[in-house]
Amino acid sequence: MVLLIAAPAAPPQEAPQVHRLDYAWAPLLAHLLGLGRSAGADLVEFFLERDQYVSCLVEEDKVTSIAPSLSVGAGVRVFKGLADCYVSTNDLSAVGLRSALEKGLEILGLSLGSSLVPEVNLELLRDYAAAQGKDLWLDRCSPIGEMGDILRQANHELARQGSHVQARRCVYFRDWQEVLVAASDGTFARDIRLTQSAGCHLLCADGLHRASLGQRLGDTSNPEFLRAWDFTTTAADLAEAAGKMLYADYVESGAYPLVMANQFGGVIFHEACGHLLETTQIERQTTPFAGKKGEQIAHPSLTAWDEGRSLQAFGTIDMDDEGMPAQQTLLIENGILKNFLADRAGSLRTGHPRTGSGRRQSYAYAPASRMRNTYIAPGPYSLEDLFASVDRGIYCKKMGGGSVGPTGQFNFAVDEAYWIENGKVTKPLKGATLIGEATEIMNRISLCSQDLGLAAGFCGSVSGSIYVTVGQPHIKVDSITVGGR
């Protein structure tokens, strides 16, 4: 339902207080959007943001850093034809926002006229925060003192459970973000995002043998997240893995079949395929999948999703940074490309429908098509089936980071790996990097097990660093190049 609001008698001169972004901003934003349209812009969009961030670091049982930060800012995007420009500012006064708009218009060769300005009719505020009680979330989070206490306990667990421990760190951050989006097509929406993450890092050393491993959990919708964190299990998992990797041999380079674990193993799909399904890549002509919608691009056993709605997952958003409700987007079904991820500009320039995927790190970045919770769907096979299919190969239990290049070549590090011999997991291996071409690897994912698992991650790209989920069940890749010694 879209309601029209009455135009104010005179253009508003002052912005509301910055301590809350809500319907009180409607008159000013409607006026500025009208100014932009009357200057000749096809579409104008404002993004207002308040952010409260705090991080806590505990090392060797001591709190060594508590770092809060506060930010407010706004970005205005102006479209004319297929071109757009983006101007950001810290100044949320009426003068500051108008000046940002004027700069955006000027960049596109437009200027404000003196004629009567029709105000844009904004829809009735879609307030996801109010509808879900998010305004109270921040007060329910752990205060600073409790953060330190919990992290100290987790840090102590690392010492208790690890062996040959040289250094141990536990970290937590909380990112509270309030956003308001208003656009000249009537979009007017508000949300609050509460992203939290806690994790541990362990460095073990014995002579020249070293193992360095980390583990992190994340959440987007539970204010009690830190209190509920099972740090004993996190510490135990990490200590066990570090103990095994401490004396691991370096992997010998070559081409191998491999079994990739669930949860963070999904980074392979994120890097090798997910990025190439963003319309940003179509615009840049840097995806081999452009123009292949409806075609077979992956092994028939592979189905994959990107969505923003999984409860508490790290990439979950109720609306994207362009005010569109997050969608559940089927990317690949039985190997056939079904959809791309599109933001407003990407949709305009490629023709693919918007998917609620317009995301950005903050007001300092223009939004772009980005992933949310991205995962390979579970398949029919058991874990035993996957291992039994490998005579000599590698089990990638824990993946590190990775990236994809402009021609579709990808690479990622393996933090915890084991040799597979005749279907059995044997000795630990370190130093492996997986390398390949996206178009080739997607056809080599031949078996998917039933145990889908998700993991929290960070994704850096054109619109900054954002919170995402990667995921998959255990999968088998028939062959991949492994860089090692």
């Binding site: 297929l82 983006y86 960049i107 380079s253 990097t433």
Partner: protein
């Protein structure tokens, strides 16, 4: 009165109202504009004006609290001071940061003319022309998907309640051009270049264009390389990428945190070939940004990290210097836990080599032009790396582009396996560095072993 004077006044007034006796503030006001184009048309134009400050407050027990904020009006700054004051109750009890003893010492004057910003239309004109020239350089160049010109002005400052006050302004401009090529039957390839300058007029656009075109064309004909141990020549950019990725070797904070391959006792030990010497010099004449002070107000200065392979100095903040009995070196990045970061490396030949090497005459080397995915392929605390790279197999000066390959090894072994550091340095984003030759590095290619 400029905006930084206003900020100083606000800080003093707010601190007085809150009863805060000891504090410092580091911050910057930034204005930047950037453009990208797509086949002759503007693709995206961005402009921003933003500010950010980091406030540290010490309480009566000399424990420190910190807050960062982008809101530097009266209300925002006072809120930040208040939050930092509250956070100080949880500040570290031992080894907490303090004012730098050098925060009021004179800084070395840095001559960097400020460039006036040019209109967006001019940035677009220059970039469109560069893109067109690159597309015309070879029929295989199908696009320049990654391109941009940006200009920036930064006003940076530091002040503390003991009266220290620093301020400086810098301008910079940059261009990058990365092509994509397609030839039937061949894999798509990409190559590019970037340049930095004080402003648009100072920017070597032609040089960037020529380098991007030359590299692109050189990668059109490629071949897989056989896996094995190779004599490897690192380009200045590639060597500095690797040197920076293993910064924990010479970062005093990492060493104190035991997150390093070095220990405090490593000073004076040999960690690399005697053919190699390395400085960090923020004030190097080629450093566009050339900061004259760090996040704690300490003046920057040249620091010799390696002298003929021997570790001579770590990079310090005020706190790490105090704990290790050294002087602050001007490398602090302000925070509740102050970190340490390099500015601008200068790599030099150390001892005279027994033998010189030349790409034109050496029998066979792998030339590593650009290392990729360092965030994923470097295990900084283990000392190991496994990285994809762009480069060529060079036989007596004849070079053939290498199809997808990786290079792997241990940084300590690599530094000790250097056989030649060329005499002529080149300017890169990270510093001034010549090509560096290393014996026996593992390369994995797609031609098998």
């Amino acid at each position: 009165m400029n905006s930084i004077d206003t900020l100083v006044d606000r800080a003093h007034q707010s601190a007085a109202r809150l009863g805060i006796k000891k504090y410092d503030i580091y911050g910057a006001l930034v204005e930047d504009t950037s453009v990208q184009v797509d086949r002759g048309n503007p693709k995206q134009v961005k402009a921003s004006q933003r500010s950010g400050v980091t406030v540290r407050v010490w309480n009566q027990a000399n424990r420190v609290g910190i807050t960062s904020t982008t809101a530097i009006d009266d209300l925002g700054l006072e809120l930040a001071l208040q939050m930092a004051q509250e956070a100080s109750a949880f500040g570290p009890e031992e080894y907490g940061p303090d004012f730098s003893p050098a925060a009021q010492e004179p800084v070395t004057p840095v001559e960097r003319p400020l460039a006036a910003p040019v209109p967006v239309t001019q940035l677009l004109r220059e970039l469109v022309a560069a893109e067109q020239s690159l597309l015309a350089a070879h029929p295989a160049i199908q696009g320049v998907p990654y391109n941009g010109i940006a200009q920036q002005k930064v006003d940076k400052f530091y002040l503390n309640s003991q009266g220290a006050r620093r301020q400086e302004s810098r301008t910079s401009a940059s261009i990058y051009l990365y092509t994509k090529t397609e030839i039937p039957g061949k894999k798509p390839r990409s190559a590019g270049a970037m340049r930095l300058g004080l402003g648009l007029e100072d920017l070597d656009i032609q040089g960037c264009l020529q380098e991007a075109a030359e590299k692109t064309i050189s990668h059109l004909d490629y071949a897989p390389v056989t896996s094995g141990q190779y004599r490897v020549v690192f380009s200045p950019e590639a060597f500095l990428s690797l040197w920076a990725a293993f910064g924990n070797l010479y970062n005093a904070q990492s060493i104190l945190d035991r997150q390093s391959l070095s220990t405090p006792e490593s000073l004076g030990t040999t960690v690399a070939s005697p053919l190699l010497s390395v400085w960090d010099n923020a004030l190097h004449p080629s450093n566009i940004g050339a900061p004259s002070f760090d996040g704690e107000g300490t003046p920057t200065q040249p620091v010799q990290i390696l002298e003929q392979g021997v570790l001579k100095s770590f990079l310090h903040s005020a706190g790490t210097a105090k704990r290790l009995g050294a002087s602050p070196t001007g490398h602090a990045v302000i925070g509740a836990k102050v970190s340490v970061s390099p500015h601008f490396f200068h790599v030099l030949p150390g001892q005279p080599p027994d033998q010189t090497h030349h790409l034109e005459t050496d029998e066979q080397v792998v030339f590593v032009d650009d290392l990729q995915a360092l965030h994923a392929g470097v295990q900084a605390l283990q000392g190991s790396f496994s990285l994809p790279f762009d480069g060529w197999l060079v036989r007596r000066g004849e070079r053939v582009s290498i199809e997808a390959a990786t290079i792997a090894g241990d940084i300590r072994k690599l530094l000790n396996s250097i056989i030649y550091v060329e005499p002529n340095p080149e300017l890169t984003r990270r510093g001034f560095c010549p090509r560096v030759w290393v014996e026996g590095v593992a390369v994995t290619g797609e031609a098998g072993a």
